[in-house]
Symmetry: C2
Subunit: 402 residues, 2 copies
């Protein structure tokens, strides 16, 4: 098997941790696999480099910042290679430019165009363990770029896709993907499998095990992802297209998202196109709107409520006030003490009563539902944020019995 493994910065933070990770890599190699390993910069390296930069120039160009920061991963891969050398394994470290990781020129947040697999293949043919610097590439001028948030996960998935790897293992500090946050819900269960879409829904709701970008790429290229722990040696959660127990297990997980605000546009004339004007104005400012609710108000008007990320709340409000005349509303109410709780499951669409079960759980717990939104694999409700943890526990109890 050809396996791509990815380890984050905290997993290789010091010599001791580098040795533990080297042990994991060696174990897979000894099992006869072809090994490609993607690493992030060690623990605080990136912060240290940013401090050095800030002392000289608080607002450096992104090109020079990428030139600086990309050294962090290069240090990681050299040290890991040295560690495996000490254990007498054949190994070679490679930077982003050495594997022809081509990106666009958006320094600090570059998108991957292509990877030339030639060098990696040649090293694998020599039975070497290949250690690759994550997070970095080069643009068409051969200038160093970095990939931004989730960049090393994305590097690993892109390499797995380019090499048609049998598996892409993302090692983290959790044991896999859970039905709910295990720190909050004692009965939370680790999932053996989950679909890409479910993972995407969970990831976008703050269960930050994998960055969405890497999951999207894995889905597009059909990469067999696995999330597992660098500390506990046992199977993690597999992310794939079709999940075995999809039919039995109605939902895969429960997540909550506190980064949400509710805006109510009150007194919108009940005429065609009024609601459209609201959402066009917000779209022009690139503000994403999530749950939408329209209800009848007084005097032949409607109230239009919707949620946005809390960070966008002020801008959304200003944008609408600027367009008040065109839209013709009376005023805007804003609340931030709300939270979105969602259940996610690919089997949901073929299984009636899932949403009803969720609502029942909330009703039993005497939690009022403010708004509802459903999709093929997700049901979300907006509730008062003080009830968030209680709601997650109640729903988990209802579906999983613990």
């Amino acid at each position: 098997m050809l396996i791509v493994q990815k380890f984050g910065g905290s997993s290789v933070a010091d010599a001791e941790k580098v040795r533990r990770v080297a042990g994991i890599i060696a174990e897979s190699y000894d099992a006869g696999h072809d090994m490609v390993v993607v690493l992030s910069a060690q623990g605080d390296t990136t912060d240290d480099l940013l401090d050095k930069a800030a002392e000289i120039n608080p607002r450096p160009s992104k090109r020079e910042l990428d030139m600086l920061l990309s050294t962090g991963e290069q240090i990681s891969i050299a040290l890991m290679a040295m560690c495996l050398e000490k254990m007498h394994y054949p190994v070679v470290s490679l930077t982003g430019w050495q594997i022809g990781m081509r990106t666009n020129s958006q320094y600090g947040n570059a998108r991957i165009y292509s990877i030339s697999t030639e060098r990696i293949r040649a090293e694998l043919d020599k039975r070497r363990i290949v250690i690759i610097a994550g997070f970095q590439g080069v643009n068409k001028m051969e200038d160093v770029t970095t990939l931004g948030r989730g960049g090393s996960d994305t590097t690993a998935v892109a390499i797995a896709a380019a090499l048609h790897a049998d598996r892409c293992q993302i090692f983290t500090d959790v044991e896999g993907v859970y039905t709910a946050d295990p720190r909050k819900v004692p009965g939370a269960r680790k999932l053996d499998e989950i679909t890409y879409d479910e993972m995407l829904e969970l990831a976008s709701m703050g269960a930050q095990v994998l960055h969405n970008r890497s999951v999207e790429m894995a889905k597009r290229y059909g990469v067999n992802l696995e999330v597992l722990s660098s500390y506990v040696r046992k199977p993690g959660t597999k992310v794939k297209e079709v999940v075995k127990q999809m039919e039995e297990m109605k939902i895969s997980g429960i997540a909550k998202d506190h980064n949400v605000a509710r805006l109510a546009v009150v007194g919108v004339p009940d005429e065609p196109g009024r609601a459209f004007r609201i959402f066009r104005a917000l779209a022009n400012k690139k503000i994403n709107v999530d749950i939408i609710l329209q209800s009848y108000g007084k005097n032949n008007t409607n109230d239009v409520s919707f949620t946005v990320a809390e960070d966008d709340m002020e801008e959304a409000k200003e944008t609408l006030l600027e367009a008040q005349e065109a839209i013709g509303f009376d005023h805007i109410d804003v609340t931030t003490d709300v939270c979105k709780v969602s259940i996610v499951g690919a089997g949901m669409v073929r299984s009636s009563g899932i949403a009803a079960t969720m609502f029942e759980a909330l009703s039993d717990a005497k939690i009022n539902i403010q708004m509802i939104s459903t999709s093929e694999i997700k049901v979300s409700v907006l509730i008062k944020d003080v009830y968030a943890d209680l709601a997650v526990k109640a729903i988990h109890q209802k579906f999983f019995g613990a």
Copy 2:
């Protein structure tokens, strides 16, 4: 003018020093010059990286060590570029691989094959200051190599040669090349000019202002070198083919070398080929022999004395003892309490009495000369090492009157 400037690790050790160097670069740019700047790794960076490596693997492969160490210069150039950005200068940093610095595959001590000047020229055409990582290149596999001792000086000279630069300025912590070590000889004078050959003789004798490798390359390609201070803004010493005041100034400098041992092979039969066998045996072990003296010993035998670097002394002795039967000597005497003092000057060959003046100075100071060696531009003597500083002072006084 196209000027290449090189700054060592101590010149860019911290933010404050980076700013000072940026000031020097900016001044030259403001004067209308095209600027290419070569930097070493910041102060202790290399040692810090070596410590990290040692913790994981005390004997890493040289390939991975080069991968690790080359990040040091990359950090330097990014920070310097950020500093010049802050001062509103157009600037770009480039690594060894980005300028196509091709080397052989001798990791840790690679030799330069070629530089592709395309990228540097393109950046200069945009009127950008080009900041280049010294000390590093890539081999034919695109693997990172480092150039070893004096690597950044050599990078600067190689780039100056490739670009046909008008001047290559090596900034150091001294103000130039002196007639003697100014810390030891108060009357030591800074030289305005010196020839490549004189510089080579001085460098090889421990006046470590410039590494020999860079001077040899400068000589081969006719690069106009200048050694000057990063701290004091005034002209340094120019190193070139022909020096103006060569005829007046009989000697250019005085140097001493403590890394020397004297071996006396006592009782070698006075037959043809005996001495040859001694030096053949040493040459086979790649031991360089410097001053040689043959003298008559007892009973129709000769004593053959010579000097080697102190580091080679043990091996030289062992080598000769192994060949004792073939050579036929009686025994070997070894002394390490010796020092070589030399005067260097291109005008020497056309000027009689230079050696005599030196010997007179030593005689006046009551210093006994053990061995003598002369070349076209150098006279060296071996003396007891406790008299080294006294000898340099006495000779300096005799030639320079101070």
